[in-house]
């Protein structure tokens, strides 16, 4: 009992007023130095790192080919409601009022490949399971101090990361946390999925307020016949089980253990890094570009899909990578 009282006391002392809120309205651009690979050139093939996939999720991802979103039927279907965390595209926030001047909803405006997320602030309940699911889902929100917290349900089936087909189901839910500090907006998304994720998938990104970003979001989409051989056939492009040619891409390219690339929950945690440290050898190509460090797309400069003009920079977090640890292979060179 004494413990409970103590906890309650701490909570009461630390709790911000329920009415506290921040002004989120405006347009924001992503800070591209965060996860630039995903936001810029896109995921590596066969790269499911950082996503706690179930066996089913992994199996579905391995059936995927990038021809799927090129299908006529899928070109204009929205991506995941949380895809803004992975794209190099600006976002815009605005609010809606009722006649009494109360804010009824905050809206994270959509674009050509992502639906509006209308976060209802008027206390309405989530609809029944029989109600239609939409691209932006159904979201309710509340302020926790200066952070707007939204709970999103009623989403459609969509890829968490389209580039490599990491799946989410139509029963996925996403909690979103929006915190603005001066011109910076931090968005944290926590996605759960009863079929494809073993643990919540957490992503945090920072966006910068920029009034000139208003015109960068397209709101229309049109289709073209990108794969003529599929037209009117009803055929669906996909890999066969066990035949995804890119399943070992991360192993071939970065010597990464396959389990790390395939999105097992264990690989999310620091203990896993320690577990594989003694097993890891730096690929020769990486070492040539930046001794002791693997810079991902930098190694592909000059090759198709490479990232021109980028330089290798681990952001000073050398302790997180194998910087300075000369591998036997590299030393021999």
């Amino acid at each position: 009992m004494r413990y409970i009282c103590a906890v309650l006391g701490v909570l009461l002392l630390s709790a911000a007023p329920a009415s506290a809120q921040a002004e989120l309205s405006g347009t924001y651009i992503p800070l591209m130095h965060e996860d630039y690979i995903e936001r810029g050139p896109g995921s590596f093939l066969g790269d499911y790192t950082g996503v706690p996939l179930t066996d089913e999720g992994r199996a579905k991802a391995l059936l995927y080919t990038s021809n799927q979103p090129s299908q006529y039927e899928r070109q204009c279907l929205a991506q995941s409601a949380g895809i803004f965390q992975y794209r190099p595209v600006a976002i815009r926030f605005f609010k809606e009022w009722n006649d009494e001047g109360r804010v009824t909803a905050w809206v994270l405006g959509g674009d050509n490949l992502r639906g509006d997320i209308r976060i209802w602030m008027d206390g309405r309940p989530h609809p029944s399971p029989n109600a239609q699911h939409t691209e932006g889902g159904f979201a309710t929100g509340a302020w926790e101090g200066d952070t707007l917290v939204a709970h999103v349900t009623h989403l459609k089936t969509a890829w968490i990361r389209r580039g490599v087909g990491i799946p989410a189901s139509d029963h996925t839910t996403i909690d979103m946390y929006f915190t603005r500090r001066e011109n910076l907006l931090t968005i944290t998304t926590i996605q759960e999925d009863p079929y494809y994720l073993t643990q919540p998938h957490v992503v945090s990104r920072v966006f910068e307020w920029n009034p000139r970003a208003a015109d960068v979001t397209r709101q229309t989409c049109n289709t073209a016949n990108e794969i003529p051989s599929l037209e009117d056939t009803g055929q669906v492009p996909h890999n066969m089980p066990g035949q995804n040619p890119e399943a070992d891409y991360m192993v071939r390219t970065f010597n990464l253990p396959k389990d790390a690339a395939m999105g097992f929950a264990e690989t999310l945690y620091p203990e896993y890094r320690r577990k594989i440290r003694s097993l890891y050898t730096l690929p020769v190509a990486c070492d040539e570009r930046a001794p002791g460090y693997c810079c991902g797309w930098i190694e592909r400069q000059g090759l198709p899909g490479g990232a021109p003009s980028l330089t290798c920079n681990d952001g000073g977090f050398g302790g997180l990578g194998p910087r300075g640890r000369r591998t036997p292979a590299a030393t021999e060179r």
């Binding site: 199996a59 039927e73 204009c76 959509g110 029989n130 239609q132 089936t157 839910t173 229309t220 669906v236």
Partner: protein, 318 residues
């Protein structure tokens, strides 16, 4: 009437959980004059207008009085038509109760008492009238008007309504109903958002027919495009499960096509049904769409696809 008739409002739990197959009994309004009654067996679409009510399916017999009460809450106008999308009890069981509460638009029916017309493909009547035993429905539940043509068209409630013959998907009595002005399509069990489609080869169902039906639906259903942020789109009422649109159809079609292709490849390699089952050809889709127990398991679905590919049906709708 225009007000939303949501009888139940369930807040989703904080953590994502697998939903149950049993739908909440409730009515949702999806267009100004179109409603869907859930939870009484198969979904029931109710189209309202100056001519009266047009229903697609009637739910289970055991819920007939509940459905009738729900219909009356929507409108007091007479029920004119009940259109059956197939022969299953959970779609036709309420025919008698609802038909007797209605009245046909035509005054020269052979019925002694006024009753709504029950329309279906002829095969539905043959199935119901040929049934024996405790599962057999009384003749009052049988269709009173049948058709065999590709389309049966009505212009009721200022809406062109097309009943589309789509045999050989779920069964040999499949039909879909297109309310063209309302822009709503009721699919029957061709689309079942609870699980893999129930394909019953003993009653003429096949994977070939199922995919043909889904691809035909994709030709009829219009997505929100190019104005993708608008709500404007064709709405789809599946046989079971939530209100849907183009995106759910694409996903369901793609899912079944991929599994069909995998099983076809395994057959080509000479694998037996047992070997195919053990290879788990639905991996990646099984958790969402499959069931390990109950009336329609993943194994049953895989077997239906396997047998359908080994012994293709004579023909299904194009």
């Amino acid at each position: 009437m225009a007000a939303l008739l949501a009888a139940a409002t369930q807040v989703q739990p904080a953590a994502a959980q697998r939903p149950t197959d049993a739908a909440v009994f409730e009515t949702l309004q999806i267009r100004s004059n179109v409603f869907v009654i859930f939870g009484a067996g198969g979904n029931i679409t109710v189209h309202v207008g100056e001519d009266g009510l047009v229903l697609v399916d009637s739910g289970s017999a055991s819920r007939g009085s509940d459905v009738l009460a729900a219909v009356r809450r929507i409108s007091g106008r007479p029920i004119r038509y009940i259109i059956n999308t197939g022969p299953d009890e959970d779609h036709v069981g309420g025919n008698e109760t609802l038909a007797r509460a209605g009245a046909s638009l035509m005054d020269d029916t052979f019925a002694d008492d006024p009753r709504a017309a029950v329309v279906s493909h002829e095969n539905v009547l043959l199935r119901l009238s040929g049934a024996t035993g405790p599962a057999a429905l009384p003749s009052g539940a049988w269709p009173s008007e049948t058709f065999t043509s590709r389309y049966r068209s009505l212009y009721v409630n200022d809406d062109p309504i097309q009943i589309i013959r789509q045999l050989g998907a779920h069964s040999d009595g499949d039909a879909m109903v297109h309310f063209r002005r309302a822009d709503v399509i009721a699919t029957g069990d061709v689309l079942d958002l609870r699980h893999f489609p129930v394909i019953d080869p003993t009653r003429g169902g096949s994977i070939q027919g199922e995919l043909a039906a889904l691809n035909r639906l994709l030709d009829l259903v219009v997505p929100a495009m190019p104005l993708v942020l608008k709500d404007a789109r064709t709405l789809v009422v599946p046989g079971h499960g939530r209100v849907a649109d183009y995106a759910e159809l694409v996903d369901y079609r793609d899912t079944l096509t991929v599994i069909r292709n995998i099983i076809a490849d395994q057959i080509q390699k000479g694998m037996t049904l047992e070997q195919v089952r053990n290879a788990n050809p639905a991996a990646g889709y099984r958790a969402r769409w499959g069931r390990d127990s109950g009336p329609w398991t993943t194994d049953m679905f895989v077997e239906a696809v396997y047998n359908g590919l080994k012994n293709p049906p004579a023909g299904s709708e194009p």
